[in-house]
């Protein structure tokens, strides 16, 4: 507190005006005296601040000094109280479960390992009470849980939370608590009443809302306005449309891919055909070269033969008919190097003419 007072002294400086600083420093008592005299002014000056205008953290602090039963009753005052009350009651359910787990953990540490020894231990009663409370919490969670998660209601029975906390505090602080059936009777009665009433009277009006409400709404805070909820729903419907468009586009992409694959296969076939044909062309070109070489060789041989024949004919110049034929053969061979088929045919003719001119006796036909 002395430290806090030093801080306050430092802050008082901000409120001193120049003339006051020139005067002797006011002691804190003097400040307080002046404040007490002006306290009535503060009392008379009424601020327009309202309870609902206080920050949420401050409102929660004020509510923390009220019982859960009172908070549940206050929900009907106004919407802000209803929202604050729902938040506090839902947190209370979580807090009581956490407190129960903590108490059980503290008790179990002190218990022996053997089950038979645990039954006769002084803390056995504590364990029974804690296990019974766990059962009640489970039943209440099953009754209210899904509606709380979807934001349709809160944990309604605040009185049940108060009773649970009361029993847990007794179990934690007392070394010899009352018997389980005595200490838990009130809790069992009111929790059963609450669950029965909820199932019979409240659940019927909430079930249609629960089935039609999407699960995403449960993640929205209770303080969101209707406009914000509509905006979220619009975004969700747009997301659905985009998803549908995406599936259609995926189908189109798939069909285009299959077509591209088919065309690719055809292109490969054409390429291989082209390669085969170019190989054949080159092979045929080589064959043509060979045939031309052969023809040249043959024509050279024929020329050689004709020259030798000329010389022999010149020796016997009286035989004039054969020299004309030989000159015609020479003329024939001088223009015979144009086409393959022509070469083959003309070389046959040349042979035929050569055989006529040569004095070879004909073969006898049997």
């Amino acid at each position: 507190m002395i430290v806090g007072l030093r801080r306050l002294r430092a802050r008082i400086k901000t409120f001193r005006t120049e003339p006051e600083r020139k005067e002797s420093k006011m002691s804190l008592r003097e400040i307080m005296d002046s404040s007490s005299s002006s306290g009535s002014e503060a009392n008379n000056r009424q601020s327009n601040l309202c309870l609902l205008e206080l920050p949420d953290i401050v409102q929660r602090r004020i509510f923390s000094f009220l019982s859960y039963d009172e908070i549940a009753r206050l929900r009907i005052v106004c919407k802000d109280f209803d929202i604050m009350g729902k938040t506090v009651l839902n947190k209370g359910l979580v807090a009581v479960e956490k407190f129960r787990n903590m108490c059980l953990k503290e008790v179990k540490i002190q218990l022996p390992r053997r089950e038979s020894e645990r039954r006769v231990h002084p803390l056995a009663r504590h364990v029974d009470v804690l296990m019974a409370i766990e059962t009640r919490i489970s039943m209440l969670s099953m009754t209210y849980g899904k509606y709380i998660d979807s934001g349709l209601c809160c944990f309604i029975p605040g009185k049940v939370l108060d009773e649970m906390f009361r029993v847990l505090r007794i179990v934690r602080e007392s070394k010899t608590p009352p018997r389980p059936h005595e200490i838990l009777q009130e809790l069992r009665d009111i929790s059963s009443m609450a669950m029965e009433h909820f199932d019979e009277k409240v659940c019927s009006s909430l079930k249609p809302k629960f089935t039609s409400t999407p699960k995403a709404k449960s993640l929205l805070t209770l303080k969101m306005s209707n406009d914000e909820v509509d905006a979220v729903q619009a975004v969700q419907t747009n997301l659905q449309k985009v998803k549908g468009n995406c599936t259609e586009l995926r189908k189109q992409v798939k069909s285009l891919r299959s077509k591209v694959l088919k065309l690719g296969g055809k292109i490969d076939d054409n390429k291989s055909k082209l390669q085969d044909q170019s190989a054949k062309i080159s092979e045929q070109g080589a064959q043509i070269q060979d045939l031309r070489r052969v023809v040249d060789e043959l024509s050279q041989k024929v020329l050689d033969i004709s020259r030798s024949h000329d010389t022999s004919m010149n020796k016997s110049s009286s035989k004039g008919g054969s020299s004309n034929k030989i000159s015609s053969v020479k003329a024939f061979f001088s223009g015979s190097h144009t086409s393959q088929s022509g070469v083959v045919t003309r070389s046959k003719r040349a042979r035929a003419q050569d055989t006529e001119s040569d004095p070879v006796p004909p073969k006898k036909m049997c």
């Binding site: 507190m1 430290v3 806090g4 007072l5 801080r7 306050l8 430092a10 802050r11 008082i12 400086k13 901000t14 409120f15 804190l28 307080m32 404040s35 002006s38 306290g39 503060a42 009392n43 000056r45 009424q46 601020s47 327009n48 601040l49 309202c50 309870l51 609902l52 206080l54 920050p55 401050v58 602090r61 004020i62 509510f63 923390s64 000094f65 009220l66 009172e70 009753r73 206050l74 929900r75 009907i76 005052v77 106004c78 919407k79 109280f81 209803d82 807090a95 407190f99 903590m102 209601c153 029975p157 906390f165 505090r169 009111i190 009443m193 609450a194 009433h197 009277k201 409240v202 009006s205």
Partner: protein, 133 residues
Amino acid sequence: MLEDLGMDEDDEEVVPLPNVNSPILKKVIQWATFHKDDPPPPEDDENKEKRTDDISSWDADFLKVDQGTLFELILAANYLDIKGLLDVTCKTVANMIKGKTPEEIRKTFNIKNDFTASEEEQVRKENEWCEDK
């Protein structure tokens, strides 16, 4: 608060307090001066029962002010992080709420009932579970 502002306790620098006016600050100083020798308040334990009947007589007299001043003291205590003052002022407001019907609370704090008839009926039906038949 000084830690939040990044200031040292021994600094002579001026600390701005835009959210606290001078009459309220004077009241805060008055409370702090009276409680200067108090031990530090214990940490909050949510499992412990919170009582509102342990307000001292001096604090009760100190807080006999109008609602506006009381709420401004709450805001100042929250802003200046004075836990003791915050607790006692919140307890005072809680005592103003306890034991009152919803209509009395609306009247005390000038709150408007903004429920529709169906909404109010729904809340009433939910709270019927503990009524004796």
